[in-house]
Subunit: 172 residues, 2 copies
DNA sequence: GAAATTAGTTATATAGTATAACTGTAGAGA
DNA sequence: TCTCTACAGTTATACTATATAACTAATTTC
Protein backbone atom coordinates (compact mmCIF):
# COMPACT_ATOMS: atom_id res chain seq x y z
CA UNK A 1 0.00 0.00 0.00
CA UNK A 2 1.26 3.42 -0.91
CA UNK A 3 1.45 6.25 1.57
CA UNK A 4 -1.30 8.22 -0.19
CA UNK A 5 -3.60 5.22 -0.10
CA UNK A 6 -3.03 4.83 3.62
CA UNK A 7 -3.71 8.49 4.26
CA UNK A 8 -6.94 8.29 2.32
CA UNK A 9 -8.03 5.19 4.17
CA UNK A 10 -7.59 7.02 7.46
CA UNK A 11 -9.16 10.17 6.07
CA UNK A 12 -12.30 8.34 5.10
CA UNK A 13 -12.86 6.39 8.30
CA UNK A 14 -13.90 3.46 6.15
CA UNK A 15 -15.41 0.67 8.18
CA UNK A 16 -15.59 -2.71 6.52
CA UNK A 17 -18.25 -5.04 7.82
CA UNK A 18 -18.39 -8.79 7.16
CA UNK A 19 -16.12 -9.05 4.07
CA UNK A 20 -18.47 -11.71 2.74
CA UNK A 21 -16.02 -14.16 1.19
CA UNK A 22 -14.25 -14.24 -2.12
CA UNK A 23 -16.00 -12.03 -4.63
CA UNK A 24 -14.68 -11.61 -8.16
CA UNK A 25 -12.21 -8.81 -7.64
CA UNK A 26 -9.71 -8.25 -10.45
CA UNK A 27 -6.27 -9.61 -9.73
CA UNK A 28 -4.13 -6.89 -8.17
CA UNK A 29 -4.25 -5.61 -4.62
CA UNK A 30 -7.47 -3.80 -3.89
CA UNK A 31 -9.54 -2.19 -1.23
CA UNK A 32 -11.51 -4.70 0.78
CA UNK A 33 -15.08 -4.00 -0.14
CA UNK A 34 -18.29 -4.76 1.65
CA UNK A 35 -20.72 -5.96 -0.99
CA UNK A 36 -23.63 -6.09 1.44
CA UNK A 37 -26.62 -7.96 0.01
CA UNK A 38 -25.06 -7.91 -3.45
CA UNK A 39 -23.13 -11.04 -2.50
CA UNK A 40 -26.32 -13.04 -2.36
CA UNK A 41 -28.50 -11.04 -4.72
CA UNK A 42 -29.84 -13.46 -7.31
CA UNK A 43 -29.89 -10.93 -10.13
CA UNK A 44 -26.41 -9.61 -9.52
CA UNK A 45 -24.70 -12.96 -9.14
CA UNK A 46 -26.62 -14.35 -12.10
CA UNK A 47 -25.55 -11.42 -14.24
CA UNK A 48 -21.89 -11.71 -13.32
CA UNK A 49 -21.92 -15.45 -13.94
CA UNK A 50 -23.67 -15.06 -17.27
CA UNK A 51 -21.09 -12.52 -18.40
CA UNK A 52 -18.28 -14.89 -17.44
CA UNK A 53 -19.85 -17.73 -19.41
CA UNK A 54 -20.47 -15.51 -22.45
CA UNK A 55 -16.88 -14.31 -22.19
CA UNK A 56 -15.66 -17.89 -22.55
CA UNK A 57 -18.17 -18.49 -25.32
CA UNK A 58 -16.93 -15.44 -27.20
CA UNK A 59 -13.32 -16.54 -26.94
CA UNK A 60 -14.25 -20.03 -28.07
CA UNK A 61 -15.97 -18.71 -31.19
CA UNK A 62 -13.74 -15.73 -31.90
CA UNK A 63 -12.32 -17.41 -35.01
CA UNK A 64 -15.77 -18.22 -36.40
CA UNK A 65 -17.09 -14.78 -35.47
CA UNK A 66 -20.17 -16.45 -34.02
CA UNK A 67 -22.23 -14.72 -31.37
CA UNK A 68 -24.44 -16.55 -28.89
CA UNK A 69 -27.54 -15.52 -30.82
CA UNK A 70 -26.11 -16.86 -34.10
CA UNK A 71 -25.27 -20.12 -32.40
CA UNK A 72 -28.79 -20.51 -31.08
CA UNK A 73 -30.35 -19.68 -34.42
CA UNK A 74 -28.24 -22.17 -36.37
CA UNK A 75 -28.93 -24.83 -33.76
CA UNK A 76 -32.68 -24.26 -33.84
CA UNK A 77 -32.89 -24.31 -37.62
CA UNK A 78 -30.80 -27.47 -37.73
CA UNK A 79 -33.23 -29.25 -35.45
CA UNK A 80 -36.40 -27.62 -36.78
CA UNK A 81 -35.90 -27.06 -40.50
CA UNK A 82 -38.65 -25.05 -42.14
CA UNK A 83 -39.71 -23.03 -39.13
CA UNK A 84 -40.91 -19.53 -39.87
CA UNK A 85 -38.60 -16.63 -39.07
CA UNK A 86 -41.01 -15.36 -36.49
CA UNK A 87 -41.19 -18.77 -34.81
CA UNK A 88 -37.44 -19.02 -34.41
CA UNK A 89 -37.28 -15.43 -33.22
CA UNK A 90 -39.97 -15.92 -30.63
CA UNK A 91 -38.53 -19.20 -29.43
CA UNK A 92 -35.27 -17.40 -28.70
CA UNK A 93 -36.86 -14.28 -27.24
CA UNK A 94 -35.61 -12.11 -30.10
CA UNK A 95 -37.87 -9.44 -31.54
CA UNK A 96 -38.68 -10.19 -35.14
CA UNK A 97 -37.45 -6.76 -36.22
CA UNK A 98 -34.01 -7.47 -34.77
CA UNK A 99 -34.06 -11.00 -36.06
CA UNK A 100 -33.97 -9.83 -39.66
CA UNK A 101 -30.36 -8.66 -39.39
CA UNK A 102 -29.31 -11.92 -37.75
CA UNK A 103 -30.78 -14.01 -40.56
CA UNK A 104 -29.32 -11.58 -43.11
CA UNK A 105 -25.88 -12.23 -41.65
CA UNK A 106 -26.26 -16.00 -41.64
CA UNK A 107 -27.64 -15.94 -45.17
CA UNK A 108 -24.74 -13.77 -46.34
CA UNK A 109 -22.37 -16.38 -44.90
CA UNK A 110 -24.40 -18.99 -46.79
CA UNK A 111 -25.16 -20.97 -43.67
CA UNK A 112 -28.89 -20.36 -43.70
CA UNK A 113 -31.42 -20.12 -46.47
CA UNK A 114 -34.75 -18.29 -46.58
CA UNK A 115 -37.38 -20.07 -48.64
CA UNK A 116 -40.67 -18.38 -49.38
CA UNK A 117 -43.48 -20.71 -48.43
CA UNK A 118 -45.61 -21.88 -51.38
CA UNK A 119 -48.72 -21.92 -49.23
CA UNK A 120 -48.28 -18.56 -47.53
CA UNK A 121 -46.18 -16.15 -49.50
CA UNK A 122 -45.68 -13.93 -46.48
CA UNK A 123 -43.70 -16.61 -44.71
CA UNK A 124 -39.95 -17.09 -44.90
CA UNK A 125 -39.17 -20.65 -43.90
CA UNK A 126 -35.61 -21.18 -42.67
CA UNK A 127 -33.26 -24.00 -43.61
CA UNK A 128 -29.59 -24.76 -43.24
CA UNK A 129 -27.58 -24.92 -46.43
CA UNK A 130 -25.27 -27.93 -46.89
CA UNK A 131 -22.47 -25.60 -45.76
CA UNK A 132 -24.65 -24.64 -42.80
CA UNK A 133 -25.09 -28.29 -41.82
CA UNK A 134 -21.36 -28.81 -41.90
CA UNK A 135 -20.82 -25.58 -39.99
CA UNK A 136 -23.33 -26.69 -37.37
CA UNK A 137 -21.40 -29.89 -36.75
CA UNK A 138 -18.10 -28.07 -36.26
CA UNK A 139 -19.87 -25.45 -34.19
CA UNK A 140 -21.19 -28.11 -31.84
CA UNK A 141 -17.72 -29.53 -31.35
CA UNK A 142 -16.41 -26.12 -30.37
CA UNK A 143 -19.42 -25.56 -28.18
CA UNK A 144 -18.95 -28.88 -26.42
CA UNK A 145 -15.44 -27.85 -25.39
CA UNK A 146 -16.79 -24.59 -24.03
CA UNK A 147 -19.63 -26.29 -22.21
CA UNK A 148 -17.28 -28.87 -20.71
CA UNK A 149 -15.18 -26.06 -19.27
CA UNK A 150 -18.29 -24.59 -17.67
CA UNK A 151 -19.34 -27.97 -16.30
CA UNK A 152 -15.91 -28.46 -14.83
CA UNK A 153 -16.04 -25.06 -13.17
CA UNK A 154 -19.42 -25.95 -11.71
CA UNK A 155 -18.06 -29.20 -10.30
CA UNK A 156 -19.41 -31.82 -12.67
CA UNK A 157 -22.51 -32.76 -14.67
CA UNK A 158 -24.67 -33.16 -11.57
CA UNK A 159 -23.88 -29.63 -10.49
CA UNK A 160 -24.71 -28.43 -14.00
CA UNK A 161 -28.04 -30.25 -13.94
CA UNK A 162 -28.83 -28.76 -10.56
CA UNK A 163 -27.99 -25.28 -11.82
CA UNK A 164 -30.20 -25.68 -14.88
CA UNK A 165 -33.00 -27.02 -12.73
CA UNK A 166 -32.78 -23.96 -10.48
CA UNK A 167 -32.48 -21.24 -13.13
CA UNK A 168 -35.34 -22.76 -15.10
CA UNK A 169 -37.62 -21.97 -12.18
CA UNK A 170 -36.88 -18.28 -12.73
CA UNK A 171 -38.25 -18.32 -16.26
CA UNK A 172 -41.33 -20.45 -15.64
CA UNK B 1 -54.51 -23.92 -36.26
CA UNK B 2 -55.35 -22.22 -39.51
CA UNK B 3 -55.47 -24.10 -42.78
CA UNK B 4 -52.36 -22.33 -44.12
CA UNK B 5 -50.40 -23.26 -41.01
CA UNK B 6 -51.35 -26.89 -41.46
CA UNK B 7 -50.33 -26.88 -45.09
CA UNK B 8 -46.98 -25.39 -44.23
CA UNK B 9 -46.39 -27.94 -41.52
CA UNK B 10 -46.91 -30.72 -44.04
CA UNK B 11 -44.92 -28.93 -46.67
CA UNK B 12 -41.89 -28.69 -44.44
CA UNK B 13 -41.80 -32.28 -43.20
CA UNK B 14 -40.85 -30.93 -39.79
CA UNK B 15 -39.77 -33.66 -37.43
CA UNK B 16 -39.79 -32.81 -33.77
CA UNK B 17 -37.44 -34.85 -31.60
CA UNK B 18 -37.51 -35.02 -27.78
CA UNK B 19 -39.55 -31.90 -26.95
CA UNK B 20 -37.30 -31.35 -23.92
CA UNK B 21 -39.84 -30.14 -21.38
CA UNK B 22 -41.32 -26.77 -20.68
CA UNK B 23 -39.18 -24.02 -22.14
CA UNK B 24 -40.19 -20.37 -21.89
CA UNK B 25 -42.50 -20.08 -24.84
CA UNK B 26 -44.71 -17.00 -24.98
CA UNK B 27 -48.32 -17.62 -24.10
CA UNK B 28 -50.28 -18.44 -27.24
CA UNK B 29 -50.29 -21.66 -29.22
CA UNK B 30 -46.98 -22.27 -30.89
CA UNK B 31 -44.98 -24.71 -32.90
CA UNK B 32 -43.39 -27.41 -30.79
CA UNK B 33 -39.72 -26.69 -31.02
CA UNK B 34 -36.72 -28.90 -30.46
CA UNK B 35 -34.22 -26.83 -28.51
CA UNK B 36 -31.54 -29.49 -28.73
CA UNK B 37 -28.62 -28.78 -26.39
CA UNK B 38 -29.90 -25.27 -25.75
CA UNK B 39 -32.18 -26.71 -23.07
CA UNK B 40 -29.20 -27.60 -20.93
CA UNK B 41 -26.66 -25.04 -22.17
CA UNK B 42 -25.38 -23.20 -19.14
CA UNK B 43 -24.87 -19.90 -20.95
CA UNK B 44 -28.28 -19.90 -22.62
CA UNK B 45 -30.31 -20.84 -19.57
CA UNK B 46 -28.31 -18.45 -17.41
CA UNK B 47 -28.94 -15.63 -19.85
CA UNK B 48 -32.67 -16.24 -20.04
CA UNK B 49 -32.94 -16.47 -16.26
CA UNK B 50 -30.91 -13.31 -15.75
CA UNK B 51 -33.16 -11.42 -18.16
CA UNK B 52 -36.24 -12.62 -16.29
CA UNK B 53 -34.81 -11.48 -12.97
CA UNK B 54 -33.76 -8.09 -14.37
CA UNK B 55 -37.24 -7.77 -15.85
CA UNK B 56 -38.76 -8.09 -12.41
CA UNK B 57 -36.12 -5.76 -11.00
CA UNK B 58 -36.93 -3.15 -13.63
CA UNK B 59 -40.64 -3.32 -12.89
CA UNK B 60 -39.96 -3.07 -9.17
CA UNK B 61 -37.90 0.07 -9.62
CA UNK B 62 -39.79 1.64 -12.51
CA UNK B 63 -41.12 4.41 -10.26
CA UNK B 64 -37.66 5.27 -8.92
CA UNK B 65 -36.11 5.01 -12.38
CA UNK B 66 -33.32 2.94 -10.87
CA UNK B 67 -31.30 0.57 -13.00
CA UNK B 68 -29.47 -2.44 -11.62
CA UNK B 69 -26.14 -0.63 -11.93
CA UNK B 70 -27.46 2.39 -9.99
CA UNK B 71 -28.71 0.09 -7.28
CA UNK B 72 -25.34 -1.59 -6.94
CA UNK B 73 -23.47 1.70 -6.86
CA UNK B 74 -25.66 3.22 -4.15
CA UNK B 75 -25.41 0.05 -2.11
CA UNK B 76 -21.64 -0.10 -2.37
CA UNK B 77 -21.17 3.54 -1.44
CA UNK B 78 -23.53 3.15 1.49
CA UNK B 79 -21.44 0.31 2.90
CA UNK B 80 -18.05 1.67 1.84
CA UNK B 81 -18.22 5.46 2.11
CA UNK B 82 -15.19 7.24 0.76
CA UNK B 83 -14.18 4.67 -1.84
CA UNK B 84 -12.61 6.06 -4.97
CA UNK B 85 -14.68 6.14 -8.14
CA UNK B 86 -12.33 3.69 -9.77
CA UNK B 87 -12.60 1.29 -6.85
CA UNK B 88 -16.37 1.19 -6.97
CA UNK B 89 -16.29 0.84 -10.73
CA UNK B 90 -13.83 -2.03 -10.65
CA UNK B 91 -15.66 -3.79 -7.84
CA UNK B 92 -18.79 -3.81 -10.01
CA UNK B 93 -17.01 -4.66 -13.25
CA UNK B 94 -17.87 -1.31 -14.80
CA UNK B 95 -15.27 0.47 -16.89
CA UNK B 96 -14.29 3.74 -15.29
CA UNK B 97 -15.09 5.66 -18.48
CA UNK B 98 -18.68 4.40 -18.37
CA UNK B 99 -18.86 4.86 -14.64
CA UNK B 100 -18.59 8.63 -14.95
CA UNK B 101 -22.08 8.97 -16.41
CA UNK B 102 -23.54 6.73 -13.71
CA UNK B 103 -22.08 8.87 -10.93
CA UNK B 104 -23.12 12.01 -12.82
CA UNK B 105 -26.70 10.76 -12.78
CA UNK B 106 -26.67 9.89 -9.09
CA UNK B 107 -25.05 13.20 -8.25
CA UNK B 108 -27.64 15.08 -10.30
CA UNK B 109 -30.34 13.33 -8.27
CA UNK B 110 -28.44 14.41 -5.16
CA UNK B 111 -28.09 10.87 -3.89
CA UNK B 112 -24.31 10.68 -4.19
CA UNK B 113 -21.59 13.21 -3.61
CA UNK B 114 -18.11 13.39 -5.10
CA UNK B 115 -15.51 14.77 -2.69
CA UNK B 116 -12.02 15.55 -3.90
CA UNK B 117 -9.54 13.85 -1.63
CA UNK B 118 -7.31 16.20 0.39
CA UNK B 119 -4.39 13.82 0.13
CA UNK B 120 -4.65 13.01 -3.58
CA UNK B 121 -6.37 15.67 -5.57
CA UNK B 122 -6.87 13.32 -8.52
CA UNK B 123 -9.21 11.16 -6.48
CA UNK B 124 -12.96 11.57 -6.25
CA UNK B 125 -14.15 9.87 -3.08
CA UNK B 126 -17.81 8.89 -3.13
CA UNK B 127 -20.34 9.40 -0.35
CA UNK B 128 -24.08 9.22 0.01
CA UNK B 129 -25.85 12.46 0.75
CA UNK B 130 -28.41 12.45 3.59
CA UNK B 131 -31.04 12.11 0.86
CA UNK B 132 -29.01 9.27 -0.56
CA UNK B 133 -28.98 7.46 2.79
CA UNK B 134 -32.73 7.76 3.02
CA UNK B 135 -33.10 6.66 -0.59
CA UNK B 136 -30.89 3.64 0.07
CA UNK B 137 -33.15 2.51 2.90
CA UNK B 138 -36.28 2.74 0.77
CA UNK B 139 -34.44 1.15 -2.10
CA UNK B 140 -33.53 -1.84 0.04
CA UNK B 141 -37.15 -2.33 1.04
CA UNK B 142 -38.20 -2.39 -2.59
CA UNK B 143 -35.31 -4.66 -3.42
CA UNK B 144 -36.21 -7.08 -0.62
CA UNK B 145 -39.68 -7.53 -2.11
CA UNK B 146 -38.13 -8.24 -5.49
CA UNK B 147 -35.59 -10.64 -4.04
CA UNK B 148 -38.27 -12.46 -2.06
CA UNK B 149 -40.21 -13.04 -5.26
CA UNK B 150 -37.09 -14.55 -6.83
CA UNK B 151 -36.46 -16.72 -3.78
CA UNK B 152 -40.01 -17.95 -3.88
CA UNK B 153 -39.70 -18.83 -7.55
CA UNK B 154 -36.52 -20.74 -6.77
CA UNK B 155 -38.27 -22.71 -4.05
CA UNK B 156 -37.02 -21.09 -0.87
CA UNK B 157 -33.88 -19.65 0.74
CA UNK B 158 -31.99 -22.94 0.59
CA UNK B 159 -32.53 -23.16 -3.15
CA UNK B 160 -31.35 -19.56 -3.46
CA UNK B 161 -28.20 -20.31 -1.48
CA UNK B 162 -27.52 -23.35 -3.61
CA UNK B 163 -27.95 -21.27 -6.77
CA UNK B 164 -25.57 -18.58 -5.52
CA UNK B 165 -23.07 -21.23 -4.52
CA UNK B 166 -23.19 -22.72 -8.01
CA UNK B 167 -23.04 -19.53 -10.06
CA UNK B 168 -20.18 -18.20 -7.94
CA UNK B 169 -18.06 -21.06 -9.20
CA UNK B 170 -18.42 -19.67 -12.70
CA UNK B 171 -16.80 -16.36 -11.78
CA UNK B 172 -13.97 -17.72 -9.64
C1' DG C 1 13.58 17.49 -12.35
C1' DA C 2 12.06 14.20 -16.08
C1' DA C 3 9.56 10.22 -17.10
C1' DA C 4 6.15 7.10 -16.04
C1' DT C 5 1.85 6.14 -13.72
C1' DT C 6 -2.71 7.02 -12.00
C1' DA C 7 -7.71 9.05 -11.59
C1' DG C 8 -11.02 10.96 -13.85
C1' DT C 9 -12.98 12.61 -17.98
C1' DT C 10 -14.42 13.16 -22.89
C1' DA C 11 -15.38 11.52 -27.29
C1' DT C 12 -16.61 7.93 -30.02
C1' DA C 13 -17.78 3.38 -31.86
C1' DT C 14 -20.23 -0.81 -31.57
C1' DA C 15 -23.73 -4.29 -30.03
C1' DG C 16 -28.05 -5.29 -28.19
C1' DT C 17 -32.59 -4.17 -27.72
C1' DA C 18 -37.16 -1.72 -28.22
C1' DT C 19 -40.89 0.69 -30.95
C1' DA C 20 -43.41 2.45 -34.80
C1' DA C 21 -44.57 2.39 -39.35
C1' DC C 22 -44.73 0.33 -43.74
C1' DT C 23 -45.44 -3.50 -47.58
C1' DG C 24 -47.31 -7.48 -49.12
C1' DT C 25 -50.26 -11.34 -48.16
C1' DA C 26 -53.88 -13.99 -46.04
C1' DG C 27 -58.18 -14.82 -43.55
C1' DA C 28 -62.93 -13.53 -41.90
C1' DG C 29 -67.31 -11.74 -42.41
C1' DA C 30 -70.99 -8.91 -44.74
C1' DT D 1 -66.90 -10.53 -54.16
C1' DC D 2 -65.58 -6.62 -51.39
C1' DT D 3 -63.86 -4.84 -47.29
C1' DC D 4 -61.77 -5.00 -42.96
C1' DT D 5 -58.62 -7.03 -40.03
C1' DA D 6 -54.62 -9.68 -38.88
C1' DC D 7 -50.14 -11.38 -39.86
C1' DA D 8 -44.96 -11.94 -41.62
C1' DG D 9 -41.32 -9.65 -42.70
C1' DT D 10 -38.92 -5.46 -43.21
C1' DT D 11 -37.08 -0.71 -42.51
C1' DA D 12 -35.97 3.11 -39.82
C1' DT D 13 -34.91 4.80 -35.61
C1' DA D 14 -33.76 5.42 -30.85
C1' DC D 15 -31.94 4.13 -26.62
C1' DT D 16 -28.94 1.49 -23.54
C1' DA D 17 -24.89 -0.88 -22.43
C1' DT D 18 -20.34 -1.52 -23.31
C1' DA D 19 -15.54 -0.90 -25.21
C1' DT D 20 -11.42 1.92 -26.66
C1' DA D 21 -8.47 5.80 -27.30
C1' DA D 22 -6.95 10.09 -26.11
C1' DC D 23 -6.73 13.79 -23.07
C1' DT D 24 -5.90 16.64 -18.42
C1' DA D 25 -4.31 16.99 -14.00
C1' DA D 26 -1.97 15.09 -10.20
C1' DT D 27 1.22 11.89 -8.19
C1' DT D 28 5.01 8.66 -7.85
C1' DT D 29 9.37 6.86 -9.33
C1' DC D 30 13.98 7.14 -10.59
Amino acid sequence: MRYGDFLQLVENYVIFAKPSGPIPSGNGRHAIINYSVLSEAVGYRLRRAQLAVFQDFGESFAAEGLRPADFSVVLLIKHNPGLKQSEVAEALGIQRANFVAIVDGLERRELVERRKSETDRRVQALYLTPLGEQFADNMLTTWKAHEDRMIEKLGGPEARDELIRLVNRLTE
